[in-house]
Symmetry: C2
Subunit: 332 residues, 2 copies
Amino acid sequence: MSEKNLQILLASRPKGEVTPANFRLVETAIPEIGPGEVLVRNHFLSLDPYMRGRMDDAKSYAASQPLDEVMIGGTAGEVIESRNPKFAVGDKVIGMFGWQLYGKTDGSAIRKVDATHVPLSAWLGAAGMPGITAWYGLNRIIAPKEGETVVVSAASGAVGSVVGQLAKRKGCRVVGVAGGAQKCAIVVDEYGFDACVDYKAGQIYADLRAATPDGIDGYFDNVGGETLDAVLRRMNAFGRIAICGLISGYDGQAMPLQNFRSVLVNRLRIEGFIVSEHMELWPDALRELVGLVGARELKYRETIAQGLESAPEAFIGLLKGRNVGKQLVRLV
Amino acid sequence: MSEKNLQILLASRPKGEVTPANFRLVETAIPEIGPGEVLVRNHFLSLDPYMRGRMDDAKSYAASQPLDEVMIGGTAGEVIESRNPKFAVGDKVIGMFGWQLYGKTDGSAIRKVDATHVPLSAWLGAAGMPGITAWYGLNRIIAPKEGETVVVSAASGAVGSVVGQLAKRKGCRVVGVAGGAQKCAIVVDEYGFDACVDYKAGQIYADLRAATPDGIDGYFDNVGGETLDAVLRRMNAFGRIAICGLISGYDGQAMPLQNFRSVLVNRLRIEGFIVSEHMELWPDALRELVGLVGARELKYRETIAQGLESAPEAFIGLLKGRNVGKQLVRLV
């Protein structure tokens, strides 16, 4: 156990791409707890694309991350001190302590999890927020029927891989879009997608058309940009598009859409969503996801960076698609 | 009564803008009716933007209009001969006889209307398909709450003017977008909108922002293009956008959207629709619309061209926004 807490703060807002200079590592005292409080040692930090939006001060769905404060983020850890009867030392908990080694709470900000069958890290991935994100967009927005074709971008990622596997379980034809042959191979061979389009091969529309001979009924979008544009051209009548992320435009790139006409021609429904606004569905979603992960029926991969100091570079890598599966930082 | 039937056929498909050369006027015999059939003299032809899409052979929601056949379209007329017990000479009827003076049917293709309180022409406008289009998009997609701000483009048109008046009746702030000071004056003074933005004034975003101090909760889109793009920047969280028409791109113009990011940031729902696919709602919608038109509580304007020969030019004018309100062709 370190004698000090380490934290990473937002030092400056990115102008375009995120750089390491946007962050600052500081050493602080380990928090002391009072009556009713709990001290948690974080084991894993979750890195997620939504963090990029919070680094800007532009209007976004989440409050802007204040400068000189600890970067926000999901964490999984262990209770190491407790003056709260609901938590005992050794309890595994999920929280939002952000980019730091320790976190203190009155208990309201953490949730106990059972790491017996589902590893602690998975509670930040397939059995956590990314999994629930996949579950919500697929079930509540796309709501695919058996035999329909569902496409998901960032298909090898923490969200995309779950979307595809859940859609396969519903009897859909599932096509992923991912960057590079290695990711596409994982998407097909490991996650069991029917096909995967490598957008880096430079002919996304032609490849997508070949992979979706019956058109597309549902699209789970994590990237926006030209992938979305290509998908719009392949959509079938009454198709549904869940907009979960627009990572291709996170650094302020223009993301002009050419094929919006398809929305009228094909009577599409497009819906943007943020899973944290649908907490009422988390218990249902988690029950299913935890069951599947525990039974090894839902597969996932993790890319794990070591040490809090590595978080900025790991996060930059995530935005560039260097990770495969869930990007985590191990803090112990 | 003419001794001959006149028809306008689709002679060729437009390359870009529609021109009079795309149509051909022909003279044919007045149809003879057999047992069970009805002969209708059309009094009004309805001209509507959707016809532009049918002139192309590109994939669209409606079957492409075949070459050398009568242009399709809604009509209002009078039964002048009947061998069907359900229809008597003198009955006023709505049908889809297209761009011609006469139409024959076994009765299945026409609907009797009462022109006592609602003029015959209005059954093609506020109390007809355009009115129902407005009703559906507003009530079923936008579903505005009292106090919300609703924006509608092509606000002086047959659909837009009804959208705005229905939204006002629901207690919304209603802002129109229209082309030119004259149309904007009608939208505000006659239809009772709270404000109207003249997109031809060349500063649509600034003017829209000024007219929507609390942002936009619902948008009924008839035009697409830069109006839609400006609206996307003003949308509030959980806003709804009904895509009813994209007239700014009907001639094949590129219609790139820059502000799609708003869909995620504001968790928007966008839905394209075609009212003819929701026939189950027509009785409810018509009951309300016919009641309001009959009571003079729903106002409308008509631009009426005289004679079938004028239909091509009137249609071209409609696509260019030269009409005010419902564009009709009087055939008697």
